[in-house]
Symmetry: C2
Subunit: 539 residues, 2 copies
């Protein structure tokens, strides 16, 4: 590459997962000989997530922060920028980053660019999932799920309504690949173990359901034998497995399956949809199924000095068949190969083709068991596989201090019962959406309430109960709002709102709504008019 | 007490701090002999916070969850309800709890009631503090502060504007009691240690300022000698101490002191205002300065079967002088005494007066130093005091598993450098307030922006820069909104908004605002009219 200006070549890596971090590591090690280029890594977190261990955060068998490593410590010679990427100009070789404390755009020029953005969870287009399904992708998701499960146990422990109690104690996981199976196994272990501390929750009250679209779990990951072993093991531990079944939609109260079955639950985890990163989605580059098309050198075709690695890249499999799978072991080698080819581009020399044949596959099944297939020949299950799994991952975990910490945490976990601390960290969102299926109830007469609702799609009826008699007193259509009595400091709901059609509502916290309405005089007037009308009608 | 119905007497404890948990512990141990009453504890978290160790969460020398213990594990015979208290009827002996997953009120009857609600941080009435000061009271506060400090370092590391950089690297702590001094010491240690990992941040760039209202820090807690020792030590470690100085107000950009000094900062921690719990505030019971007045038996005067312990209670000091101090050692003994007196009320016998003389006082000063005064005679400082501090607290920490974990974490901390992982857990609030002092800027021309602002109080000018020339093109008054261009997908700000008077604004995220406006047809109309007017004016 011919550089017009005199500065050192700037290599910018977008993304700090396995592919991005290992690319930067390799670049740093090459930098040691000759200080002839600069490395910058952009990631929205300042840490690297050791993805294979993330499910263990649910059960707390390792500490919350033990699955992650500060990138700054892993990559001392790399300039780390903790921001989102807002825009990318491939012609000008310019990246615009999101705002920091002050809302100023931040620009970054590059000479070599590495896409290592991975993929994202995206529930859009799936009815009720964006509102009610929990993703399991990053550390925040794992911590959120853990806290949610503890919250559910706390509530189930004091709930007297048997229907709600069963709903609270039902956990549904969609997706029977490694990720879904590991989440399911850890969640099942944790709930069953923790429930012993809650009075009145029996093991038989707990339902954990795993949904999978094909006829066997882990069918794309391991052999039939090991897949059946995993099914058998989960079944023994109390997990219900629904095969050839997908999630059709979700509501505030239930998971609805493609078989039309409705499973009442407050905990629905979906590990299924992995979508391309939104930045890549918007770029005019060669793509297939949302992934960036690369050649064997991991270069993006038709673009000079641009590379793509990891889950966001579509890389021909060196075996000749299909494409590289989106796994950590491939991402690590892809990152390293791309880095070496970049160094060759800077210093001159021969670029090398990506060469790797997977080592094998491993998946944890929770309490001291796992399945593993190594080098196509060796198959393990049970305790031996689990021991292998732990040893290999402990060894692959970057950094000695991290190894010590995780090793100790695992050792302690054998002795000390699980934690039950529920962290309440985030404030509830001001404006949120919720989805309801026909027959489901938004709120009940007599409920406490401090939110206002706006009906977006669907239809609902207002039901008032008087001396044991139920009467439908009004119908609500899109654009109408309800629950506005909460704004008048009425603490309990005056009527029940029951949906007739599949219905989406927007919920607004009282505080947010009043702050808005009180301070925009025009809005206040409008709102007061509507209120006056409504009050007259309800009398 | 004469119980009309036949059930076992129900003891309800409100609050799970030192006083409440130790009251329940004592009740449980008495229950062991005879199963003649029921214990319920209501707390908004399912864990007990070991308050003295909370500042260590900032530096990460112990794990995030090591300062807390699950209440359920500490109190196996107690029914724990993890909810807020919404209302209390002292005549009907009925407690209404907040909603859970379903918005239904939850009622609780009691025969004996123990107030152990502690106090809360309340910045109301202090200009700019509710919006911009960080409290330091519970675990979420500690985690938030830690994450905020790491965020500030990340931003300072890539900031080129020297003014903003200095502002980011300035940390102000208001309050020179034990809590403020410990937070200041831990924060100072952590920032100075962590900064070594950030390129371009020098130790001399970091400013940590401690404000205290009287002429010596810790003046109410320890002797003059130890207070001066603490001052000297903090000074040596780089802390600026401002004595006889309070915080007057805060803005988005600075801490403003009573001396009129303005310290530009993005990190202002205030440990000062401890207000009575809002529930107690609203009750018609004997109170003084917001605390519940008790007699020597810890009973609330004039109420039958109601007790108060810990920081929410005003208890005559057994020494005869004044009242019991709000410390953990008193709270523990108060809880225990109240519990014994309740058992006597149930079973018959002689109630006992609260008897306790403080053992002494200890405060950590960060990196291997502390001050301690024991039994009025012994004074320690430096490493010996710190060693004492750790040993005593490790020993007082409830539960063996917790002791092992914290002991190990402390041992590891001597070997392993601090963590730098910034957890981003909470979503930003939809609607928030911000305060600006005259001359401060809400946003600048060219900034990125996706929020809409409503001016609540004060006045601001709209300044547009064109070819290096600044022109005031409009004035904004209360009720007017600005920044609405963001709604039209214009990514950068068209003009600068500078405040002329002390100004409060309401910020609304674009997504929240559009969701509201798009779905309430009347509102949309109103808003579109205003927009049309504004657009015409700006042309």
């Amino acid at each position: 590459m011919n550089l017009a200006n005199s500065h050192k070549p700037r290599v910018v890596i977008l993304g700090g997962g396995f592919a991005g971090v290992y690319a930067a590591m390799e670049l740093e090690s090459q930098l040691a000989n000759r200080d002839d280029f600069e490395i910058t890594l952009v990631n929205k977190e300042n840490y690297f997530v050791f993805q294979p261990m993330l499910p263990e955060v649910i059960s707390g068998s390792i500490g919350i922060l033990d699955t992650v490593s500060p990138i700054r410590r892993l990559l001392p010679k790399t300039r780390l920028i903790v921001r989102d990427v807002e825009a990318l100009d491939l012609q000008q070789k310019n990246i615009t980053l999101s705002q920091g404390f002050r809302p100023r755009p931040y620009s970054l020029q590059y000479d070599y660019l590495v896409f290592a953005l991975g993929n994202v969870t995206d529930f859009r287009g799936m009815v009720g999932l964006p509102e009610h399904a929990l993703p399991f992708k990053n550390l925040a998701d794992a911590i959120f799920l853990r806290n949610h499960v503890i919250h559910v146990l706390e509530e189930a422990g004091i709930e007297s309504d048997p229907e709600l109690r069963q709903q609270l104690l039902t956990f549904v996981i969609a997706g029977g690949g490694f990720s879904g199976v590991e989440v399911c196994a850890e969640l099942n272990d944790f709930v069953r173990h923790a429930a012993k501390l809650y009075r009145g929750i029996e093991q038989t009250d707990i339902r954990v359901v795993l949904l999978h679209s094909s006829e066997r779990i882990l069918d794309r990951e391991v052999s039939k034998e090991l897949g059946l072993y995993a099914e058998e093991l989960l079944y023994k531990r109390g997990v219900e497995i629904r095969l050839k079944t997908r999630l059709r939609s979700a509501s505030s109260d239930a998971a609805i399956l493609t078989t039309d079955e409705r499973i009442p639950t407050k905990t629905l985890v979906s590990t299924v949809p992995s979508s391309p990163h939104p930045l890549i989605d918007g770029l005019d580059i060669p793509k297939d199924k949302g992934k960036i098309k690369c050649n064997g050198f991991l270069e993006v075709e038709s673009l000079d000095g641009v590379w793509a690695v990891g889950d966001c890249a579509l890389i021909p499999n060196p075996s000749g068949e299909g494409f590289c799978p989106p796994t950590a072991q491939y991402a690590i080698r892809e990152g390293t190969t791309a880095a070496r080819n970049i160094v060759v581009s800077v210093r001159g020399g021969q670029k090398k083709q990506f060469q790797f044949k997977g080592l094998g596959k491993m998946g944890s099944l929770g309490y001291r068991s796992a399945v593993a297939e190594l080098f196509d020949y060796f198959r393990f299950s049970g305790f031996l596989a689990w021991f292998l799994w732990r040893t290999i991952y402990l060894w692959k975990l970057p950094g000695l201090d991290r190894k010590i910490k995780v090793g100790l945490a695992w050792a302690l976990d054998l002795l000390i019962p699980p934690e039950l601390v529920q962290l309440k960290l985030g404030t509830a969102q001001g404006v949120a959406q919720a989805h309801f299926e026909p027959g489901e109830v938004v709120f009940r007469q007599g409920d406490l309430g401090d939110s206002l609702y706006i009906l977006l799609r669907g239809e609902a009826e207002v039901v008032r109960e008087d001396h044991g008699e139920q009467k439908v007193i009004a119908h609500l259509q899109p654009g109408e709002f309800f629950g506005e009595m909460a704004l008048l400091n009425q603490k309990t709901r005056w009527a029940t709102i029951r949906c007739i059609k599949p219905t989406d509502v927007l919920t607004v916290k009282k505080g947010d709504f009043t702050a808005l309405v009180a301070n925009l005089p025009d809005m206040r007037q409008t709102f007061e008019n509507v209120m006056a009308k409504r009050m007259g009608k309800n009398k």
